[in-house]
Symmetry: C2
Subunit: 391 residues, 2 copies
């Protein structure tokens, strides 16, 4: 007979999921009600408003997709891109490659603009692509590359796209609530995010938002959206503004309680305050890690405060360090992904996990683990450096 | 400022979600760990074994999809059906129609075998379709039609399919743990279910299983699966048997805790015992409802114990009755769907909610609500009839 699973105690400082607020875990476990219950539908309406607040948008079509961020990506692309249409896809990490996969599986043609892992998207290359492919219907890019910790200039990319008459598709999985994001002010047409990063909610849902311009393109499609489950025309029968909601699929009721609670917490803190908190804890982490002799992969101006990719001396057994952190300090940090596999650690400071205690834990534990491997570093000095940032 | 959402207290006797076991809600709220944490990966392995137990299969490719049952349906069809391939689709309710939608959106050709809402699938019509369409690659049908409460003869349908060299795709969303289901013994090639029905888990996941024959067809596809998120070739990099799991998407960690706990509970009770319990409570409900003068839509031999569709006198204001049950008894029952909208109630007795207390509550509350609308019925006699079944 199998027995109940009791997860080990962890501090989650990887690329996500991040530590979940205890309030959210409590909300998650409230009794399930029906997905058409009038009380639940009122909560759904609040949830849409809270997502508009978090995305800074008035877009009507702003909802959580009932599946993880990867499904949010697929939802946005499957709805917006018709077979044969050209999409300019920027790739400077793993997730740009995933966008390409999705565009092609929807029958679209991906025009690739490539940058190195760890570099922000090169605006000149993008402008060249716009000039060369005036028939492209959209540009798709990752605002916060979780695989490298780089932030690209979403505002300028969107302005460029508008100048060339293209729709914008923005991956904001790791962005939302962590760094400034202005869906309406920047003119973003379609955006998707995840719940398990800077919202500190459980993984499994993907908030998306479509501008009226994007919604119109979907309405005027000449072909059906290839996914029934992700077809926003159908999903909006359930999530729309009509008093009468029609069943599409059974909503993940409890996960939606959790997302609602995470957005209530974000509203209580304030969006700008959340951005500032992520920034401050990041600066403290930088001070501590650099004092240990570790180097950041991304140049200062483009670093994501919520996802810190650092490299280490070649002689370090990186997997052993991560294993020590997990077994001795119950601390999870992330390995490298794609081109950076084996070359970096990815340290998340997301949502609830972005706090001084975690910064200190991570720097101390990493320092001790490096010392244990014979790589001399001064842990107390690093902790002092952290303290100076907060003082 | 928005405040936290506190759901009203309910007894869920609709078509699902059903009442969730308190143990499962508690498991759901355990602290989130990373989706690549060694402890979590051991839990995933247990989860696969538990799903094999519940499906009665040794299929290696037996996993939960990270999205609701509708996505499980799409996963099975998108992986198995290639553009231009013919699939015989049986429709005797709403969900057969959804299968057709999915087959067509995957570029397949749906050969429809139609039966009335409330009738089981006609085996002769199916055999005719096999004879006429010898080039069909698969047959897809709904074992337990949630829209009508009818059970079709899955065992015979699968035997027929095998005789005609066709793969079988079975919708078991409402079946799993409620009535006998034998994936291996019946020769089912691909099956999907949901968590929010007879498993009494939270909604949001879809267990699926593919036979080696089905898995081989997927491996030998000439075209890519159109969905990146649901492509089992990629998903199995994370859920497969390799010691090293590669990241595909971020698993819905807490929902998977809940599914694990629901299957542990099922294993504790025993699969046959769960089927028997569903059957006994159903018989008690039948005795009570028939005593109130309500009629079952489905003939006795094909009734699902877990989903009871009953009709009422034309003069009954059915929406008002449901509204009274919800406001006065905190009891949810389901409305009719599709061709039966406004004509029936759908009363679920699923999983944790399949118990004598709920049977009594539902029959008493319905009786009183009917009396309040001037439709005389003897509630105490109905309760006596229920007692006789249990004695």
């Amino acid at each position: 007979m199998t027995t109940s699973f009791h997860p080990p105690s962890r501090t989650l400082m990887g690329p996500g999921p991040s530590d979940v607020y205890p309030r959210i875990l409590e909300a998650l476990s409230r009794p399930t009600v029906g997905h058409l219950d009038p009380a639940f539908i009122r909560m759904m309406d609040e949830l849409k408003s809270l997502l508009q607040f978090a995305f800074r948008t008035t877009n009507q079509l702003t909802i959580p997709i009932s599946a993880p961020g990867s499904a949010g990506m697929e939802c946005v692309i499957a709805n917006l891109v018709e077979p044969g249409e050209k999409v300019i896809v920027c790739q400077n990490g793993v997730f740009g490659g995933r966008i390409k996969e999705n565009v092609e599986r929807c029958g679209g043609v991906a025009i690739m603009v490539m940058d190195d892992f760890g570099k922000p998207i090169d605006l000149e290359k993008v402008e060249d692509a716009f000039k060369k492919h005036s028939d492209a219907v959209a540009i798709a890019f990752v605002h916060s590359e979780t695989s490298t910790g780089v932030r690209s200039d979403a505002e300028t990319l969107c302005a460029l796209a508008r100048a060339y008459g293209c729709l914008t598709i923005v991956d904001a999985v790791t962005t939302l609530a962590g760094i400034p994001l202005e869906v309406d002010a920047w003119g973003i047409d379609a955006i998707y995010s995840g719940t398990q990063k800077c919202l500190s909610c459980v993984p499994g849902l993907s908030p998306v938002s479509f501008s009226p311009r994007a919604a119109e393109k979907i309405t005027k499609r000449s072909s059906r959206v290839q996914s029934w489950f992700l077809d926003t025309n159908l999903v909006m029968g359930y999530w729309g503004t009509d008093a009468k909601r029609s069943y599409h699929h059974t909503a993940p009721v409890n996960s939606l309680y959790a997302l609602h609670e995470s957005l209530v917490i974000l509203e209580e803190e304030g969006l700008e305050k959340s951005w500032q908190r992520h920034r401050l804890n990041h600066l403290a982490l930088v001070a501590g890690l650099e004092s240990l002799g570790l180097e950041f992969v991304v140049e200062e101006n483009s670093r994501l405060p919520q996802l810190n990719a650092v490299s280490f001396p070649k002689s370090v057994d990186e997997a052993a360090v991560r294993s020590t952190l997990l077994s001795e300090y119950r601390l999870e940090i992330g390995a490298g992904l794609g081109a950076l596999a084996g070359k970096v650690w990815r340290i998340g400071l997301m949502g609830y996990a972005s706090n001084p205690k975690n910064v200190n834990l991570c720097v101390s534990a990493l320092g001790k683990a490096l010392n244990a491997q014979g790589h001399r570093c001064d842990v107390s000095r690093a902790v002092d450096k952290i303290g100076q940032v907060y003082s």
